[in-house]
Amino acid sequence: MLTKKYVAALLLSFAILFAAGCKKKAPAPPPPPPPPPAEAPAPKPNPPMITLFAAEPGTIERGQSSTLKWAVEGADDITIEPGIGRVSANGSRQVFPSSTTTYTLIARGPGGEARRTATVNVTAPPPPPPPPAPKATFEERLAREVQDAFFDYDKSNIRDDARATLTRNADALKAIFRDFPDRSVSVEGHCDERGSAEYNLGLGDRRATSAKEFLVQLGVPADKLRTISYGKERPQCTESNESCWQRNRRAHFAPGQ
């Protein structure tokens, strides 16, 4: 069976070869001779051709550089103005213009003159960034953002108004301690002038402790708050009336030492 298939393939191949040999029968005629050259005048030389004159980049900041590139054909005198002068036919040159400058390439040759311009736009550098906005100091932020908490006479419990004040203070203190992780705050307890100086030392200590404990409950780190009682030794004001007394019955927040 295999032998019969080979025989058939061979026969087919011969048949194709015979068919191709049959087309090569008629050769093509030779082409006609070229026409005789015409009687022409002396050829005029071409003017110089500037194939390239460009500044890259075309826009720079003052102090940066741009590169002029050029390519000229058919010229024997090539200059670039201003400030560069005679150059060769192909080249490049770094330029440092301090202001916007239009460079002119002049190419002169037997065929005449050609000009082309390239402009380097110079922009002023952006003004230096302004100094960063002055950062509030620890002391400033404490004075601005953390308020005194006030107390009733001979009391150290946190009143409703003090509760609101201390709640705001807790947020402020947490933010301040984030920005000033190395600092601490002195929670000062103060009293009005009426109780005895000795008892007021103890009362001021209670007020400072109450305020601190409240702040710690609200997440202010306990190790950042140090209590101190001033009793009635450091009054805010010294008049003998209730409004002055109230101003002195307080927990005050001062930079820690």
Partner: protein, 456 residues
């Protein structure tokens, strides 16, 4: 009615006794009304001593008057002839015989010139000033003018020497007055000191002065706040509260060297209001070591701390009785600050004041039976007046009555005088007075001055 009356009478009498017994505690401290009637005529001076007699006479009279020991005989009652030496007394001759109603014949100054009306003196201090070897010499005598015989009248006669100056005149006057006071069982104050807080330098520092306000001296220089001074019974050590190391703590200084002595302060936001025990071997104070200010006792160097009180209330100002054993202190355990008493081991706590107003600044009388203290009873908070209390009976007498704020009474070593602070003059100053509220004297004027403690 007849049946009720016998019952009512003791009640009425009792009420009368209570009403008139207002001075009971004062009398206990000051003694009864029966005081020697002392006549102190102006002394004269010979030669260069004459120019200092003014200072001398004023100092002598003030010392004796302010001792509170005497009824000072008014000068307008004095006889015209004033003796300068014992020899000046001339016994009168007996009245001439055979004449009715005859008076003794007067020969010169005599004891009865002073003992009889109008002077009615029991005692006479007299003498004179002179210059001897360029020194001021005081010749001083004290006579009991109730004696019949001049040879029995002299209680003492003594010479005193000092520089020929106003200071010298003051010195010999103080010394003579002290000898007279001692003669009547008093304790002279001239050697004692009053320690106090003054802000005259711009900072509250501890100062000292003489009981007449002279020689005011700065003892500390911490340029901070110093307050609540206390002095040991022997007068050698000074304890106080200071902010010199930021938080209030206790410092102790030697009054002999002026140097700071070691004292261990507990770890606390506050250690304050120190006081020595009478033997000077321990110190009581208030500390917030456990939270609220509480009373602690420690050795003189601060070691061996023990807590004496244990309540959730502010407790300050412990003061140990001069006899030892008992402590008075100020506590808020029942509400507004009041004075309490406990044993030195913390047991047997009792409230001494009634609970009215606010009470503070207890100070033991040297007898250990009476305290002086400040109280707002009957006044608005902050309007402190000074009171005495007999601790056993709780009877009180009021010494000041609304003239300014009167605080921090401190007993003189004689137990008859008090130093205290008052703003009655417009600013807080140190004053002294007798423990019956009389003989007020202002000692300071520069800056604000407060918290006197009277030491030896």
């Amino acid at each position: 009615m007849r049946r009720i009356l016998p019952w009512l009478t003791p009640l009425v009498l009792g009420a009368l006794f209570l009403a008139s017994g207002q001075q009971e505690v004062i009398i206990k401290v000051m003694g009864g009304a029966q005081k020697p009637a002392l006549a102190v005529p102006d002394f004269r001076g010979g030669g260069d001593a004459a120019q200092h007699t003014g200072v001398f006479n004023e100092t002598l009279y003030t010392d004796l008057d302010e001792s509170g020991l005497f009824t000072m005989v008014a000068k307008s009652m004095f006889p015209l002839a004033v003796p300068q030496r014992p020899e000046d007394f001339r016994a009168p001759l007996p009245p001439p015989p055979r004449r009715k109603d005859a008076q003794p014949q007067r020969q010169g100054p005599w004891l009865t010139d002073w003992s009889a009306p109008p002077a009615n003196a029991s005692h006479l201090a007299f003498g004179y000033l002179a210059v001897q070897n360029e020194q001021l010499v005081l010749f001083g005598w004290l006579f009991d003018v109730t004696q019949q015989d001049v040879s029995n009248a002299q209680l003492f006669g003594k010479r005193y020497f000092g520089p020929l100056s106003a200071d010298g005149a003051r010195k010999v006057a103080h010394e003579f007055a002290s000898d007279i006071i001692v003669q009547f069982g008093g304790a002279p104050l001239t050697a004692s000191k009053i320690y106090f807080i003054s802000d005259r330098t711009g900072f509250k520092e501890v100062w000292s002065m003489n009981p007449d306000g002279s020689e005011q001296k700065q003892l500390t220089n911490y340029r901070s706040i110093c307050t609540t001074p206390a002095v040991s019974a022997d007068g050698t050590r000074l304890a106080f509260t200071t902010y010199a190391r930021v938080n209030p703590m206790i410092f102790i200084h030697s009054l002999e060297t002026g140097r700071r002595l070691p004292f261990y302060n507990q770890v606390a936001s506050m250690n304050a209001t120190p006081a020595f025990t009478p033997d000077g071997r321990q110190v009581l104070y208030a500390s917030t070591a456990s939270g609220y200010a509480q009373i602690y006792i420690a050795n003189a160097d601060g070691s061996g701390v023990r807590r004496l009180s244990n309540v959730r209330a502010i407790e300050v100002e412990p003061k140990v009785s001069p006899k030892g054993g008992e402590v008075v202190f100020v506590s808020g355990r029942s509400g507004p600050q009041q004075i309490y008493k406990m044993n030195l081991d913390g047991a047997n706590v009792e409230r001494l004041t009634t609970g009215e107003g606010e009470a503070s600044n207890p100070a033991w009388h040297p007898s250990g039976e009476v305290i002086a203290f400040a109280w707002t009873r009957g006044f608005e908070p902050g309007n402190w007046n000074l009171f005495l209390m007999d601790v056993a009976s709780r009877r009180v007498d009021q010494l000041t009555h609304g003239a300014g704020r009167n605080e921090n009474p401190s007993w003189a070593p004689d137990g008859r005088h008090l130093a205290f602070s008052s703003n009655r003059s417009g600013s807080s100053q140190i004053w002294t007075m007798l423990a019956d509220g009389t003989k007020l004297r202002r000692l300071t004027s520069q800056g604000r001055n407060e918290k006197p403690v009277w030491g030896k």
